[in-house]
Symmetry: C2
Subunit: 446 residues, 2 copies
């Protein structure tokens, strides 16, 4: 069998919450203004009320609301596909399977949590969500989710992407979202940054700061979060839960679970539902693939740091390169973030997560090879996972191990084709020169 | 049930050939150099040998080769999805279902025939396929197919798209195809056109002429055809065959079968497998949706005409606007062709096919509304079908008819987002001004 489908009735009815199964709980979030752990009141002012609750819930299973499950029926369950041609090319005895999350209407796994957050925001009576997005995968997923749940949305999009990669901005706007560049003129923080540095390209961290400022200024708004938080990883557990069922149906269990990591939402979604097996002695390697240019798990340190660039977001304990680290302009925009989700940092700290980092040219080589062999063109983010899969499969060839390798195909690369074009033309470099030139401020939206 | 999936084992084992079930056979192709019907030898020099045979075969069922079916397993069967939110919005008693062909790795139905043509080309010992493409849907499908079947490919891409819509060109090149703009310097015909008119934007018809010239000049090459031919519609019959099975599983039969028509490959694929029911008295309306700016079925006449702009392709009887008609630069590049497939022309001529044409702004309005309601962003081509569906569903509301409307969701619109951006900004016009400015010829590929 080269593809394992589930029936539409097999969409999970419950999310899996890993917190009660962890060796220890994550450190509490810190209120940077007081240095003390954040209060429930603080969180509920910042986030959707239900999310503040899910963030620290110790319930192992959380029922998926019927309306969320209904929306999941647009594209879930997603197929588990065997990369037969890649196996053949690598002459590996391992089996390589990928969980194909790119079939969602917005093209990535992000919709799993977007729909949940929009649903709860509506249910809890909030009028508007505000969020940040890099290349726009999260923003477009949330834009669709807010449309489906009849909710307003304001998106701060990293300024370089806003101007240079307008496709996903058009998609967000088609869904009805308001999209502003970050830094930009919509917030005091954005105006200050632009004042200091009119060419500032922005980053996820500046966009989070602006989003939080907007939430503070408007009682009807709450912050939506595309990765990082525990509840976000909770929602993405549908990825791993379906994968488990699909593997069981063909009598296999995973030896390797591999995903790219920016913050860790797709890694968490795929791997955390298998963590208890690992803790109970199953020989499972969980492997995070990072960009060499921005690799907190590989090159960062585990400590308290800000989640945004200004310190408005709570302080968290995790692996970080420092909140003032400005990631170089690699094409995998979704991986340009200085830290990783506290839960992902914690399992790394506990020795349950391996990590590896690759330079951009190797990543695109792997992505292009995968497209030629398997037909599907991966997002640069996803191509990091594929690069790691190739390394593991090669190792299996050397050792003769017929391992079961499962990776998260988190998104397609159709809106990243200019970067593949640069790769095809031999122009791509490991770290691209900073070629962002900010548009002149007169006459355009800042 | 809001989505009907089939099992991977339900991929059809045979294509359906409508020719033996037609009221009369299509007129023979004409050799423009002699005025007489083309010979089998002529066709076999132009096309893959097996294709020349399939073109006039009267076998009702044609076995799908195992290797083609294997490749179909990448994404087939495709789901049949009910557009519940659209029904609700329109307050129509009709049920609206769409056959979702956009889940193929290249994003449209085109891969159904691309894989077949590449398979037979390889089997029949040809070294290379040569083809034309407009916006690139067909070219990227064939590029993947040729890669899977280990075959060379040369694609002539309409020059305006080559320069202004490079995404699908990058995709073709990632799959390993050679892509040249048409008109361009690769052929005598291309050089002549550019000599006369250096800013010539090209069209499907110029690209076909250049492709045929290359095939004539190279004995190892054959022409691959993305629409138009009988064999192409044969391959796409998997769309309608699966749809029939899906509808049967929920106890429904179609009252309306709706698709956009450029040449008619997705209309033919969806509708022809139901034609016999219609001929046997079933009350089925088959409806073609065309762009007002290029509507051979609505505004053309049925007569003998060239399939390309130079008269190198065979002459055919069909509905045409004239082979020298240069379609205005609407965004639905896949519908910019002066004529339609002879089989589609024939069923129109026989009164079995209705047609309707819409201006571009109405089409984008329908496409954007569909995205907001159903999540999936349709290609501008597909949005034509959606516009027609809305009209039919509104009519059902007036008459109170709970009809079953089925339409072909032929492709996604993710690579057409700049056009949606223009629509969102209120800049889109029914016929866009000819804003193609040919790049200067020095220093770039022509």
């Amino acid at each position: 069998m080269d593809r394992v489908d589930l029936s539409i009735d097999d969409i999970p009815t419950r999310w899996y919450n890993v917190l009660p199964d962890l060796p220890r709980l994550p450190e509490k979030y810190i209120d940077n203004s007081t240095g003390a752990p954040v209060t429930r009141e603080y969180l509920e002012r910042l986030m959707v009320r239900a999310m503040a609750g899910q963030e620290s819930s110790l319930e192992r299973w959380v029922t998926i609301p019927e309306q969320v499950r209904d929306a999941y029926r647009m594209w879930r369950p997603t197929p588990l596909i065997r990369a037969v041609a890649l196996e053949r090319e690598l002459r590996t005895p391992a089996q390589i399977w990928f969980k194909y999350e790119a079939s969602s209407p917005t093209g990535s796994h992000k919709l799993n949590s977007a729909i949940a957050q929009a649903y709860f925001a509506k249910r809890d009576g909030h009028r508007r969500l505000v969020t940040d997005t890099g290349a726009g995968q999260w923003g477009s997923a949330l834009a669709l989710a807010c449309r489906l749940m009849d909710l307003d949305l304001l998106v701060f999009m990293v300024r370089a992407s806003y101007h240079q990669k307008p496709y996903r901005r058009h998609l967000m706007e088609t869904y009805g979202a308001e999209v502003r560049p970050s830094p930009g003129g919509a917030t005091r923080f954005g105006r200050r940054l632009l004042g200091e540095s009119p060419d500032h390209p922005g980053s996820e961290a500046t966009a989070v700061s602006e989003a939080i400022e907007c939430v503070h200024d408007d009682a009807g708004s709450r912050l939506a979060v595309g990765a990082f938080t525990n509840f976000c990883l909770l929602h993405h557990s549908v990825i791993g839960l379906e994968t488990r069922r699909q593997l069981e149906s063909i009598g296999r269990s995973p030896d390797y679970l591999i995903a790219s990591v920016g913050c860790g939402s797709n890694l968490g979604g795929l791997a955390l539902p298998f963590l208890e097996d690992k803790l109970n002695g199953a020989d499972i390697t969980i492997l995070a693939a990072e960009p060499e240019a921005c690799a907190p798990l590989t090159h960062g340190e585990y400590r308290l740091d800000f989640a945004d660039s200004e310190g408005r977001a709570p302080g968290v304990h995790t692996y970080t390169l420092g909140h003032d680290f400005v990631p170089p302009p690699i094409h995998a925009g979704g991986l340009r973030y200085h830290g990783c989700a506290p839960l992902v940092g914690l399992i790394r700290r506990e020795g349950l997560l391996d990590a590896v980092a690759y330079p951009q040219t190797e990543v695109f080589k792997a992505g292009a090879e995968f497209a030629r062999l398997q037909g599907y063109l991966p997002a640069p983010e996803t191509a990091h996972a594929i690069r790691a899969v190739i390394e593991v499969a090669d190792e299996c060839k050397r050792t003769g191990r017929d391992a079961t390798i499962v990776f998260s195909y988190s998104g397609h690369g159709l809106l990243d084709l200019p970067a593949y074009g640069r790769y095809n033309a031999g122009l791509l470099r490991d770290v691209e020169a900073e070629d962002f030139v900010a548009p002149r401020l007169e006459g355009i939206a800042v």
